[in-house]
């Protein structure tokens, strides 16, 4: 039981690390496209890691009380994996179609 808790804490810490990496990229990078490049991948992986850790915790501790909750968490993982890159692609295509120029080296930060 203690080993399962340690694995869950490792999953949660890895997820928090990826989410902080995405937010630092969102704040620091110089352009709209590079900001979406940072958040579109790091946030997806971080959230999926955190929900996977919680799924492991639930399956090891509370499985007999509520056996339907891991199915909901699996649906949530699948939906985040599908929806988050799709939304990122939609915003990026909208920006490219309306004429936002990509940032080049030596230009000013936007």
């Amino acid at each position: 039981m203690v080993l399962i808790d340690v694995i869950v804490i490792l999953f949660l810490a890895a997820g928090i690390f990826f989410m902080f990496t995405g937010v630092i990229g969102l704040l620091r990078l110089p352009d709209f496209y590079t900001r979406l490049h940072a958040t579109g991948k790091c946030d997806t992986l971080g959230e999926v890691l955190i929900i996977a850790g919680l799924l492991l915790y639930h399956a090891s501790h509370y499985y007999h009380e509520a056996p339907l909750v891991p199915v909901k968490l699996l649906f949530l993982i699948a939906f985040i994996f599908l929806a988050n890159p799709t939304a990122t692609h939609a915003i990026m295509k909208a920006a490219y179609m309306t004429g936002v120029k990509p940032w080049k080296l030596g230009e000013e930060r936007r």
């Binding site: 808790d5 869950v8 804490i9 949660l12 997820g15 928090i16 989410m19 902080f20 995405g22 937010v23 969102l26 704040l27 709209f32 900001r35 979406l36 958040t39 946030d43 997806t44 959230e47 955190i50 929900i51 919680l54 915790y57 639930h58 509520a66 909750v69 909901k72 968490l73 649906f75 949530l76 939906f79 985040i80 929806a83 988050n84 799709t86 939304a87 990122t88 939609a90 915003i91 295509k93 909208a94 920006a95 179609m97 309306t98 936002v100 936007r110």
Partner: protein
């Protein structure tokens, strides 16, 4: 494990606060839409962790609903900005 979940929830709230900077001050509307999408997807995870802190399984249903609403809202906003209308 409740303390660990509380610490993780506070750290997620800190990341939401940091990305709220880009949503408030970001130049142009696309930066704001991207930051709102990021905040919405972080809120899903925050709702799941709140469900474990308070030990209420109802929060998972709310997080599923919030995931769908956030995705549809972002897609509709992107299509509106691209074409000037939602339905073509």
């Amino acid at each position: 494990m409740i303390e660990v979940f509380l610490a993780i929830a506070l750290l997620i709230a800190l990341t939401i606060l940091l990305s709220l900077y880009r949503a408030a001050l970001g130049p142009g509307v696309f930066n704001r839409v991207a930051a709102i999408n990021v905040i919405g997807t972080k809120t899903i995870v925050l709702l799941v962790i709140i469900g474990y802190i308070f030990e209420r399984p109802l929060f998972f249903d709310i997080s599923l609903l919030y995931a769908i609403l956030n995705f549809i809202g972002t897609l509709a906003f992107a299509k509106y900005l691209e074409r000037g209308e939602v339905w073509s």
